[in-house]
Structures are given as C-alpha cells and as structure tokens.
Symmetry: C2
Subunit: 141 residues, 2 copies
Amino acid sequence: MADAQPNTMIKNINHIAIAVNDLEAGQRFWHELMGLSLDHVARVADEGVDTAFLDAGGSAVELLYPFEENGVSKFLEKRGPGIHHICFEVDDIEAMLAKLHSAEIPLINETAKVGAGGKKFAFIHPKGTGGVLVELYELPQ
Amino acid sequence: MADAQPNTMIKNINHIAIAVNDLEAGQRFWHELMGLSLDHVARVADEGVDTAFLDAGGSAVELLYPFEENGVSKFLEKRGPGIHHICFEVDDIEAMLAKLHSAEIPLINETAKVGAGGKKFAFIHPKGTGGVLVELYELPQ
C-alpha cells in the first residue's frame, strides 16, 4: 500500500448511481416522494443507458436504465435493482489511476475516457475496492 | 404517489456505508490509497458494528464491520462486501416518515430512533425504494 496521502485527491461524492427497471417509476420515487429535484435526463448512447440525475445537495442520485444488453442489464438480471456504483470527483484522475495501478488495484479503465462536456472518467474494478464499483470523475475547470 | 414537493426535505448525502470483512484493510484502501481522511472510528454496541468514518468532502464513507451476527453480517454472507446503504440528511425526519408511510412505502423504523449525540435516524426498506437500503438522519440543530 502507498503511504498516507493528504486529502486532496478526492473532492467529493459526485453521484450515487442506482440501477432501475423503470426510469419513470424511479423518478416518481426519488423526485415526487423523496423530494429530490430533477436536474436532467439523458440517453448515453455509447453506454446503452438512459439516465436521470437528481440533485441531492452537492451530490447527485443518478438513475440508470439499460436500453440494451450491457453491464447494467447484467447487474439487474443478477442482483435486481439497487446501488450500482459510486462516483468520486478527483482533482487529477491520471495521477489517481497511476497511483492505483502501482498499488496493483485492478482498473476497468487504465486511462481516463472523455465524456460529455469534456469530463474525464474511469472505473475501478470492485475486486480492488472491497466490492464497490467506483467511478472517478475529473471535471473540466 | 404524492404530489411533487419542493426540494427541501433531503439536505444532502450524509454518508455511504460499505460493509467490509476487515476494517483495517478497508481503512488502508480508503485512507491510504484513495486519500480520504479518517474522521473517527467507533463501536456501535447496540447495532453490533465497528465503524470508521472517512471524510469525502461534505459527505462521508462509513465502513461497517459486524462483530457479531446481525443484518450486516448476513449481508456479507449473502452478497459479500460492498455498498450496504446510503444515508440522506433530512430537515424533518418525522414528516418524511409520515409521508413515506402514507404512500405505503415499507419502513424498517416507523418512527425515528435516537442515536449518539441526539441524532434521529430511521431506515426505509429496500422493497420500497427500488432495491436501495436508505437511512434517514435528522441531526440536532
């Protein structure tokens, strides 16, 4: 393991992603009943998911509905709906990935991908995190 | 379902709780490698868990290790380590529980319990939330 680091790499929880069998029903629960305001809905064609982001006071709840076969549809088949991953915003995603790589933590993405709006993202394999699928974000400045 | 509500009931994500098989190893990963600062460790004798809270920029990562048989140990046996629940801070927990009850959402705690430091807390059953064990906190003012 690496030495203790100053708490500068992770800035906050960007979002918690929840796999759902029905995006409308998910929005009804989280918006109408729990009172989270809907930020936006978007189809992420590259990943085969429809998403809804709801504001949770500095973090977001992301609802994930797979419209084709992919990792999220497999998750739903195997485990049913529930928390799919947690995403942390970091200030330097490549430095974080290099650090994890050198500690032999298995990475789903060895280098960051670039998504909508220029954000960089990468996933860490649950085998390396104690069973948690972790996403990292670095947002454009 | 209830009518749409203003986004005043949920204030933020207080913490994400992760069930671990080894609290020391969990702290090594989340503190030393991911860089989250350790806020405190505490035994919650009433619930049979040892906990470690790490700061994640306004929210926390809570590591949960069961030192006796309980819901967390059953979770670990059944699913292995991973995200156990998500906790939202609300401004009025009794009002939120009443609203959920009237919408026939199954509650693990029909009324709030009072924990360390006077915080009120209650759990919502995953059957009512789309597979997510949700905890609510109301913190003392």
